[in-house]
């Protein structure tokens, strides 16, 4: 009897956890989508991770010269909960939204093609863990 209860408890816990994780992810995506609008076109990829306060999410991207890009960065249901920074391959910081109220989006005009590293981490005011979602859009 106890084993049956235990199995069912874990089964429901798994289902509920999946439900809450998906719900949180959808809410965060909607916040990000709000700023990915014309003339910006998404690159067709979504960059996301569940991170804790002490973790940093990172990925690399190539930005073409002569193009304007928009990066949106969101966590949770409110804006300003995700800090992101862009570095070149030599680790020179090119931008961080932390000096601009953790702005949920920022535009970048690249005069020349640059390979970059993008880092994202939760703002001190954000909950201790949450989904980090980034999107990259380009404008012609």
């Amino acid at each position: 009897m106890n084993k049956t209860y235990l199995k069912l408890t874990f089964f429901f816990a798994f289902l509920l956890q999946s439900f809450f994780v998906n719900a949180q992810e959808e809410v965060t995506t909607a916040v990000c989508d709000k700023y990915m609008n014309p003339p910006f076109v998404s690159d067709g990829q979504q960059y996301r991770a569940l991170i804790n306060a002490e973790e940093v999410a990172e990925f690399r991207a190539t930005f073409y010269g002569g193009s304007i890009y928009r990066i949106t960065a969101c966590s949770g249901s409110q804006e300003g909960q995700l800090i992101f920074a862009i570095y070149d391959r030599e680790r020179n910081e090119l931008f961080s939204n932390r000096g601009y109220n953790n702005a949920p989006y920022w535009d970048f005009k690249f005069n020349s093609t640059v390979d970059c590293i993008i880092e994202a981490y939760l703002a001190p005011t954000a909950p201790p863990s949450g989904f980090a979602i980034l999107q990259i859009g380009f404008s012609k």
Binding site: L8, T9, L16, Q45, R48, Y64, G65, S67, D107, S129
Partner: protein, 303 residues
């Protein structure tokens, strides 16, 4: 002895698990490692640095490459496209995913050059192949309806196509089919490089040649995305990765000179201008080798 599953038998564990979840949700202290183990497995963690959904790299959009080609003033060339009649040849998930990427790049190219009737045909192919791959969700059905009502609007089509690929990417990640998403990206990237290399041979445009050289790091990124699946998918997959690694050895010879220049930020416009400069040096022999190898890879994908 069998046990009956009565309502109370089911409800009690349900309530217990609900309380567990609520308990986790209401805890303001950082979650302990054992509470997030399942999620940590899903979202790989390496010390304090984590990958965004198992991807440490982004691949340039084929739609953007099509836009860059159009900006050079090079005229439209239908011969570059993969004919839609070939779709019936693609019967495996691997081939379907690769060619979904190829046709997406074709769609971007057609759209950029205002070939909207042909774009509608290619969109139909993308729709069929997405269904065959099992990645057409209800959201995409709405996107298809939007396409039908915006068939003559080039910018709208661009938005719709990018949304569709983004939704597919998210859907595949949600359903632990990340490798299919990466194969689609690979098909799109190879097709874009095929366009660039073919156009460079016929037009000798330095801008196009530079764009080819700039694929050096995206190719490295693509290989890193594919590498974890080597030896775990199929012989076709492994062969493709080996071809890309061979191509990367040619790209290794390309020199990219980078000079950091402090950026300029316009806070009122939420805009930062990146002033750093990159100079790409690519020799004719390298360009010819890249053209040959990309054509071979592309042919193995579309045949």
């Amino acid at each position: 002895m069998t046990k009956k599953l009565t309502l109370s038998n089911i409800l009690l564990p349900f309530i217990a698990s609900l309380m567990m979840i609520i308990g986790i949700g209401c805890n303001d202290t950082p979650p302990k490692n054992n509470q997030t183990n399942n999620l940590d497995e899903e979202f790989q963690s390496t010390g304090g640095l984590i990958k965004l959904n198992d991807r440490l790299f982004s691949i340039p959009s084929p739609l953007q490459v099509a836009s860059l080609v159009k900006e050079t003033g090079i005229p439209y060339n239908k011969e570059l496209l993969n004919p839609v009649e070939r779709t019936s040849r693609y019967t495996t998930a691997f081939k379907q995913a690769l060619n979904l990427g190829v046709y997406g790049a074709n769609l971007g190219y057609l759209n950029m050059y205002d070939q909207l009737p042909d774009a509608a045909v290619y969109f139909g192919v993308v729709k069929i192949m997405s269904k065959e791959l099992g990645i057409m969700s209800s959201i995409d059905e709405k996107l298809l309806e939007r396409f039908e009502s915006n068939k003559s609007n080039k910018d709208s089509i661009m938005q719709i196509v990018s949304s569709m690929y983004k939704n597919a990417d998210a859907y595949l990640m949600d359903n632990e089919r990340n490798e299919i998403g990466i194969i689609i990206l690979t098909g799109g990237w190879v097709e874009s490089l095929y366009f660039l290399s073919q156009l460079a041979q016929t037009n000798k445009s330095q801008e196009i040649i530079n764009r080819i050289g700039e694929q050096k790091y995206p190719l490295d990124n693509l290989i890193e995305l594919l590498r974890p699946y080597y030896g775990k998918q199929s012989e076709e997959f492994d062969h493709l990765l080996e071809q890309l690694v061979d191509l990367a050895t040619v790209f290794d010879g390309i020199t990219i000179e980078y000079k950091y220049v402090p950026p300029t930020t316009y806070a009122d416009k939420k805009l930062t201008v990146i002033n750093s400069t990159t100079k790409t040096i690519i020799q004719d022999v390298q360009l010819n080798l890249i053209t040959e190898q990309v054509e071979a890879i592309r042919n193995s994908i579309v045949q």
